[in-house]
Amino acid sequence: MSNLHRIQWIDDQRRRGSFPNCSDIARKFEITVRQASRDIEYLRFSLGAPVEYDHQHRGYEYIGDDFILPRERLSSQDAGLLQELTQSYRQIGTRRTAKIAELFSRIYQPETTEPLHVSETRILSVRSIIETCMQEKKQIFIEYIDAGNTRTERTVKPLRLFQWGEHEHLEAWCSTRNATRQFRLDRVLKARPALQEPGSSPVEQENESTLTKEIIYIGGSESAIGREPYTACIHTGSRAQDAITCRFHDSLALLGWLTSRYERFEIVSPRWLREKAGKMYNTLSIIHRAL
């Protein structure tokens, strides 16, 4: 049973006056409660449903009557693919890919025009500063308050913006800690371009030094825990010299990066990635034709 079927069932239950919870969904569709919780996240964050947990009824409800589940003629696989692509593009963190992500999200959210992650003026302002600094390769000075209410001032080199759960995060090279760190955007109290231009972060240094050898590194959280990256050989044109080698930790991040950068590319190896991408892009081309 697909994700879309489950979403439709949840929506249907709510409209019948029931309060479905993750255990109900898990039981009904024989999935884990965690997978069910992802469905709720998908409904809330990707489809923009005003879902809240009602403690009294021990289940989820919609706040207000305005929300209508999009009824596009997309298969669940297609919708899942679009969601994955949206997340991948958003994670890349450039303005262009953020725009592509928004466009993808609109395919299954035709009535939504607001970006999903924007909720406060301060976050908007912080985000804008981060995007500008990323484009201009500048460092940022931030004042940050962590979960334990500790305030710190840091100078960071922004690497990417990404959504995790309810919150948008910044991954950055933190000069204060001399390591890569993630910051929740809503906890960034102040942000401004840093006055001085310190050196590059190790991640960027690797990018810069290896680009000339046509080896691209797509970083990820796994690099921090010492896992070796996967290696892929990609043809981006018809000539042999158009081949690039990509080292990556997350296939979705890599595929998003490739799609945003090249009109055409072919995965030579590894086979598992080729098969995974084949399935995804097959679905995408079907959606494209349908639209």
């Binding site: 919780s37 709720i40 010492g226 086979r271 598992w272 995974k276």
Partner: protein
């Protein structure tokens, strides 16, 4: 290249139990359902809490010994390899090589292998295939439907860097009543644990003290509380279902009906707690300060009922 298809992991929050179930069912080494497996192995009775409800609680125990014994209780022979990745060890890479060979041997026998954190999700997962040409294992975890594979060289490397591989290779007949007695004895010894191997963690009765203590002090880890309460609500329900089934199956253990009644109360109270703490994803807390008194009340009722359950079991043994 080898791929074992159509593996169904057990529907439980306890990822080790889900993996063991997936492995032994696929390999035809166990015939009963998940509730029986969690009861007979004893894993349903696991209850480990850290002082501030750290999310690691449910997985902090002696994997080598306990996982071997759990499989053994249901007549399944297995080998267990556990190595911590510690900078002071010189031979970790050799252990990885050994594990890779062991996993492939098991897969060649069509038996999936249980491992720790095959993806970035810090849970047990299953290795379901391999491809020597690309140096990867195909894996399943509890969080995604199509995760990226695991490079051979990354086995045992995660945020909690422990190389764990358990492969099941044979089954022997076992007497159900004896196994029931053994699993209930295990439940008793777990309940009465006077100390836990890791400081600040406690098992059984003392784990309840840790839970109640952190709720009273309000110094809990929000995600840890959310995660552990959802996990243990599932375990306590499995205990109730197991006791009910066992009481019906074995006349000598009819007395378990009384234990099942109180286990029902424990499960129901834990489910109330879980409903107040809906799981929303890794690292996310659902705790609302205003719900703490109700959670505390439910936990106290659940504990009282579990004391009764364990009292009945003690008298039966």
């Amino acid at each position: 290249m080898k791929k074992i298809e159509n593996i169904s992991m057990g529907m439980t929050w306890t990822s080790f139990a889900g993996c063991l179930y997936g492995a032994v069912k696929k390999a035809g080494l166990y015939e009963k359902d998940l509730v029986w497996m969690m009861g007979e192995t004893g894993i349903a009775f696991h209850f480990i809490m850290e002082e501030k409800s750290c999310p690691s609680g449910p997985t902090v125990y002696n994997w080598q010994q306990e996982h071997f014994e759990m499989a053994d209780r249901i007549g399944v022979a297995s080998t267990v390899l556990v190595r911590h990745k510690d900078p002071k060890y010189h031979t970790f890479e050799l252990s990885q090589d050994y594990a890779v060979d062991e996993v492939k041997r098991s897969l060649d026998r069509d038996v999936p292998v249980i491992t720790w954190a095959p993806t970035p999700v810090l849970e047990f997962g299953l290795i379901t295939g391999y491809d020597d040409a690309e140096g990867v294992f195909f894996v399943k975890d509890c969080a995604s439907e199509n995760p990226d594979p695991l490079l051979y060289k990354n086995i045992g490397i995660s945020q909690v860097p422990i190389l764990f591989v358990q492969s099941c290779y044979a089954k022997v007949p076992y007497d159900g009543e004896t196994t029931l007695r053994n699993s209930l004895s295990y439940a008793q010894s777990h309940w009465n644990s006077s100390f836990h191997e890791a400081p600040s963690y406690a098992a059984g009765r003392k784990a309840w003290d840790n839970l109640l203590g952190t709720l009273e002090r309000k110094d809990y880890d929000g995600f840890g509380l959310t995660y552990t309460m959802n996990l243990y609500a599932d375990s306590k329900r499995k205990i109730q279902q197991f006791l009910s089934a066992a009481a019906g199956e074995y006349p000598a253990f009819r007395g378990l009906e009384a234990a099942e009644e109180s286990a029902e109360t424990t499960a129901a109270e834990m489910e109330k707690i879980a409903s107040l703490l809906p799981f929303q994803g890794p690292g996310m807390s659902s705790v609302k300060d205003e719900d703490i008194p109700e959670i505390l009340d439910c936990a106290q009722k659940a504990l009282k009922a579990e004391e009764k359950t364990m009292g009945v079991i003690e008298n039966l043994l």
